[in-house]
Symmetry: C3
């Protein structure tokens, strides 16, 4: 399989409607622009449905929501479902508080999701699997994570991307492990959130039925850009954030194909 | 004509009250600080009127508004009108959705605007001119844009700045075309929004009746800084955003005078 | 006295719940990550109390608040008090508008604060001391500022950090003056707000009764990082913001001990 969706993003400039949190709006929009996508950052319920008429993907990120934001997300999500626009859910902090647990369930009850992007503790909560991030050793954890990705994808009939030292992508049948990446990515705020938006951009140009490959290219491309950005840096987190946007802007499907380190489990 | 308002900004540090969207708050504030202005970022209706007592300019940017934000903007705008504080309107996405169309009209009905800053599709909507950004060839487009700037300025009796490959500034009589700039500016989020804030800073120190020259210096200075920031860069968008703030901090009226490439039509 | 809390932050990764303004969310979170702390950016009243069960510090920053944010801050603050979580108040713009004056008083009435971080005009308002930032000469001002810090600390029985050319830290008895720093810090937006969050991280690992030293290490470390970041730069504000995060990521208690220039008054 050859990745090719990033080149299509640069050609088609898919509009990604991001309903996301107040911490990452700027970084997410700049990341999407660097990839060739067209970010539309709007949280207003009044236009949430209308935007789906011309949107190519919708991102629902619950990082910093008020009740009126949740309402707007559900309006947007249902309109996206109606118009066949893929919806990405980023369940930030799901499991951490009762309000987030309730909110995520409310969204999943009312909106059909194409892809979920989260870290392992967030996705484990969605899977209904007990998970303690601290105290889990890497060996056992690795095996578990693939299974959590698969279970969650089956449960919600969507793709699942779990971010971590190794990234896991699943559609409920296949699970791919991405070995690209850098330890610097989780040290800059909003890197996971930007990956959620990136998954949106890739789904926005993907063929129906090929969502797994779109998510896999998104995750791999993102990790490759991180890897390249970290070269020559030694925990200079300010410079890394800048270099990461540079690398996203310079990324191509060809580069992803060349540098991808993927294992299927 | 010699530009001189930027030097006055560095001398007087005008306070620019920015009621702007959640994507660009940080970048706008840093850009204003780099120019020597003093950003006051507040969206609260409770203090929207009071701030106009000591504000030098007010920016209303509808990028991500809720109804309560619109109410606050109108309170601020009317108080600004009362105190003679210039008001800049940035009609982000006007024309894209019904809610934005209604919101922009509501603001224009209730607040006297000193300057409008937008891209051609946003301003064309305000002018009531049919405009399809995609599918318009450059030749015909160029001529039309000058006319759209002039018509809009006449209609709302204010200055109009249209951002694009070439920038257009008009006060309803004169139209100036700015040839400075770089293709990288539209690839970083909030560059247009920061230009709106920048117009505010320039109007905040301008003499009454000289708004056209203030807007022209703002637009030209901004484009010159972009041009200088792009030197030696090749689509490294992360580095460009950093260099752009560096160049704004290093900009002087003298530099703008030397590098300006302006044509009057 | 040897500083040592920063090393403890890197070891324990204290969770700092930041209820802060929309301008500085991203910069504050990246700064905390660079220091080794774990930022939790949430403004929702629904989870404001619950978060205090696992939070190590709470930051209340009134930069851009709506009424519902103030309610959430008070819920969070009272829960923090109940669970012994230290609370930092950043009274942004206190004194500038009636709404901010009322809001700050409301918070101080209902929440016990461990530390206040502000500039001299903000803290002078809290102290009830008349203060005109403009028109105060440095000589007289310097003496006054130490006294304002001490009075405010006594009045609210907390630590006080006043940011400026020289920083002042007081617990109502001792006052320390920090001579480290750079003129570039106040020229990037959110530097003061990030210092407030930083004070939270330090209090999050400090021993009970040692809050003064924790605040002093926070303020000194922050100023040292600024000093190092400014080296070789000449008003390049974009680069400075990047270098500042780099320096925070590279900072150690040892480095602070070596470079600290502190005077007790």
């Amino acid at each position: 399989m050859q990745f090719r969706y990033l080149d299509l993003i640069r050609e088609c400039n898919p509009l990604v409607h991001c309903m996301t949190n107040i911490v990452v709006t700027n970084f997410s929009a700049n990341g999407l622009l660097a990839l060739g996508a067209s970010p539309f950052m709007s949280t207003m319920s009044e236009e949430a449905a209308e935007i789906q008429q011309f949107s190519n993907a919708l991102l629902l990120n619950i990082g910093t929501i008020h009740d009126f934001d949740v309402d707007a997300m559900i309006i947007a999500g249902q309109a996206a479902n109606q118009h066949g626009v893929p919806v990405v859910l980023d369940p930030v902090g799901a499991g951490a508080t009762a309000y987030r647990r309730t909110t995520v369930k409310k969204i999943l009850d009312k909106v059909n999701i194409s892809a979920i992007r989260g870290n392992v503790s967030e996705v484990a909560f969605l899977a209904g699997v007990a998970w303690q991030v601290k105290g889990v050793d890497a060996g056992r954890g690795n095996g578990d994570i693939a299974e959590i990705a698969r279970i969650t994808a089956q449960k919600y009939q969507c793709c699942v991307a779990i971010s971590g030292e190794i990234d896991y992508i699943s559609d409920g049948k296949q699970v791919a492990k991405i070995y690209n990446g850098t330890t610097l990515l989780p040290k800059i705020t909003g890197s996971g959130c930007l990956l959620g938006a990136t998954v949106g951009a890739f789904l926005g140009v993907a063929e129906k039925g090929d969502e797994f490959h779109a998510c896999l290219e998104a995750g791999t491309g993102f990790a490759v850009a991180g890897e390249l950005a970290a070269q020559g840096l030694n925990n200079q987190l300010g410079s890394f954030a800048v270099q990461f946007i540079n690398q996203l802007a310079d990324l191509t499907s060809e580069k992803i194909n060349q540098l991808a380190r993927i294992e299927y489990v």
